[in-house]
Amino acid sequence: MKSAIVKSFFAVSLAVAVLLAPAGLGAQQNKPWEQIPTPKLHEFKPQQPKRIELKNGIVVFLQEDHELPFVSGSVLIPSGSRDEDAAKTGLVELYGQAWRTSGTAKMNGDALDDLLEAKAAHIETGGGEDSTSVSWDSLKGDADQVFSLALDLLLHPKFNAEKLGLAQQQLAAGIVRRNDDESEIAGREAAKLVYGPNSPYARQPELATIGAVAVKDMDAWHQRTIGGKLIVSVGGDFDPAAMEAKLRAAFEGLPPVKAEPARKETFPGPKPVVAFIDKEDVNQSNIEIVGLGTDRHNPDVPTLAVMNEILGGGFASRLFQKVRTEQGLAYSVGGGMGFDYDHPAAFQVMALTKSASTVDATRSALAEIGGLTSRPFTQEELARAKDNILNSFLFRYDTREKVLAERVRLEFYGYPSDYLQTYRAALEKVTVDGLNAAARKYIHPDKLAVLVVGNGPEIKPGLDELKLGPVTPVDITIPMPGGKPGAGEKKQ
């Protein structure tokens, strides 16, 4: 199977190389746009937020911005769904909802809703993969009151069974509907191929696992995580000295933060497989070609970012040019090597094409992936990718809000505060040789899995024509507790 994949990559990609050679070589007589002057960019020093580390280890960021009369803030709390008990998968999502809707002993969630909405203000809570959060925003005049409500919610939630039940019902509705949308199926099942079905990065809540969550689990989660290294950030129209004093008063008295234990995880990556999910009510296939990506600590990331731009970044990328512009096989096509901050993301290339062209589009996408190692990068591709990335780089920090969010992110994952600058400098140094070496190091077609979600009878030629080994059907039946029939078979 391994060798079959490798062979077909090379065979197809060579054919592509020959076909591609003439394209784009026609000399253009004049390029009028190159005559248009590019003046020097206006001087710009993005305003950095003020960072304050409290004695207990809590970190505070303040970002003044007086353009509009609003103040917003958030508290980020380490630990998220990847840390929850597998038997209670969905706990953190439920927690993120029920926290806010339950409210506090002083004011329950419904009363909070009434009070805040009348002021066009918001306080929200959320639960994600690696963190939970409380955030707020309001007009300047209401900022003190809204902050003290948010603080009360952060430190003294009073979880209630009724609101947990409501959150369970919302999540259950999502579970029984999760096979209705083709792209949702593809994204979810692709993650399972990459990380394994039981991995904290891919497992999915089931009716049974969310049903196992009780109020005491909410309390326990809060108690366990609230002592972590909180990151408090506030932005907007405030007086910085007064705001600092207020935040110190609120957070300095908390006990010293407890460090998160180091994560011990292994990521073997997917098995090379052709997986298929049959969906009768669609006329288009979702194709996902996936492998293991990397994380941002990896010094090769700048090179990989340039490679991504060339493979699937913009209109001029290899995938877009080939599969969409030249072949007209897809509206949606793209992808590349993913990198997360503290664990490997996925390598992922996707294309959506009509049932009948599933095999053609899959082959084309595979050929472009394989071509990363067989079709050497050119100076022109490198220059284009660098232009694309570097000339739009300032959109990463063109608002004070973005600068603040970036600093919080870097703090959360333990990256230096000048990460963007060093990242940019590294991008500038990427070379063609570096790209070719990175492709050889990271692009392993024999380690990729192919997933297709589509209408089986319409897919002609069939996926066996890919000649990548047997096609493995994936069962996505939704487990119904108590032996009830699977979702989709129930009459109203």
Binding site: G26, Q28, Q29, P32, W33, I36, T38, K40, L41, H42, E43, F44, E67, L68, D110, D113, D114, E117, K119, A120, L166, Q169, Q170, A173, G174, D180, D181, D278, E280, N283, Q284, G314, F315, A316, R324, T325, G328, A330, Y331, L352, K354, R384, D387, N391, L394, F395, Y397, D398, N455, G456, P457, G462, V471, P473, A487, G488, E489, K490, K491, Q492
Partner: protein, 512 residues
Amino acid sequence: MQRRVFIWFWSGFLAVAMAWTAAGAQDLKSFEQKITTKVLPNGLTLVVCERPEAPVFSFSTFIDAGDVNDPSGQSGLAHMFEHLAFKGTSQIGTTDYAAEKAALEKVEAANNAYEAEYLKAVGRDEKKLADLKAAVKQAEAEAHKFVVPNQFTDVAERNGATGVNAYTALDETVYFWSMPENRLELWAWLESGRLSDAVPREFYKERDVVMEERRMRTDSSPQGRLVEQFLATAYVAHNYGRSNIGWPSEVSQITATEAMNFHKKYYVGSNIVVAVVGDVKASEALPLLEKYFSRVPAGPKPEEMTTVEPKQFAEKSVVIREATQPMYLEGYHRPDYRDPDNAVYDAISDILSNGRVSRLYRSLVRDKQIAVEVAGFSPFPGDKYPGLYCFFAVPAQDHTTAEIRDGIHAEIEKLKTADVSDDELAMFKTRTRADLLRGLADNQGLANTLAEYQTRYGDWRELFRELDKVDKVTKADIRRVANQVFQPGNRTSAWIETVAPAATAQKDGGAQ
């Protein structure tokens, strides 16, 4: 990438349309200092808003034409042209335009010959058809020799353009992106070029791409299918009832000539507003923009359509029985955005479905626990012509669309028979003002809004003036409008009823 926005379930542009009087720095007066407008001799309107927070700008090119203007038999045409607008001009995207032009004419001739045979009602010759198809492919390959693929977007992206995109709605077509401020002139060259000098390059391949877009958004999406059937049922005469992305048989037969004719008619100065927001000085930018955008041809403002949807007198419903989970959608005809009651509809939406305090959330989601999501919104699918006031809901597990429908109708009945509270009305006014304000700090959002208001009202200032209309909404207005519009005879409803998947017959094709 050129995505099409089905203005799904938010209530159009008027929802963000109010000002905040208390905020001294962000009122109409302050914006009059920042905004300069100019109408060029060709009729095109420029709106420049100075917001020098960072050395970047965003633009929005707003064409007052969308798929509602597609001629009969050519649904999806406006959107097809939008895709073409990314393919370059006679000066960019080609190695030799004179030769390419001749080759493109041959493509068109070959395609016409193919279509003529294809559409023969009697005596179609399949052999000849195949030959003609091959001739089209051959002509396309010839023309392709002169193409520098995606050069237009490539030049934009290499110069730092971000968020390069466009959408075609029923009412309008909008192009937009953001760029470093020192690329203003380059952008003006690119943008005015595609408005004035579009070329039907790679048209037929792009048509295949759009067909894929249709499969993704409509055919393969339960919600897409539901909405398409719902609108086709709600309207009997007006083009709002016609598939936004185009019926498959029609999109798949749109020709480059038809797309270019659409361009000629609707892409004239008087039908276009271009808004630029960011680190630009009007005094420096306007002469430059005028130089480039004067290239856009002048032309009469295209005539307004004559079709007016006749008054609905019979209640209509659509049931889709399929193996997906239930959803519910209903709509009532309402007037267009110029109606004096426009702000009253916004008040109804706010009170019924904005946030966890809203009546529909509290009743159907929190208390009865029959829905997990429910919204009232308008106008849909557009605002330029009379649209619909819609309700959309997702039932909770084990609950039916019938329960949902009854729950929504109970809330409508309350609106008709009792006044809303003072608090509810005040909340609507406060929240709409704050929402407007929040939208002012984003270059792209502001550019889109200014261009839209300049087009729809002839003056961007209406964005702030609408506050007066919002302030004047009364409880009696809400009750009156609810009674006027929410009548059974004015209703169309559509829902998905879940049935078991079709018998598992021959389903092995892909999985072998």
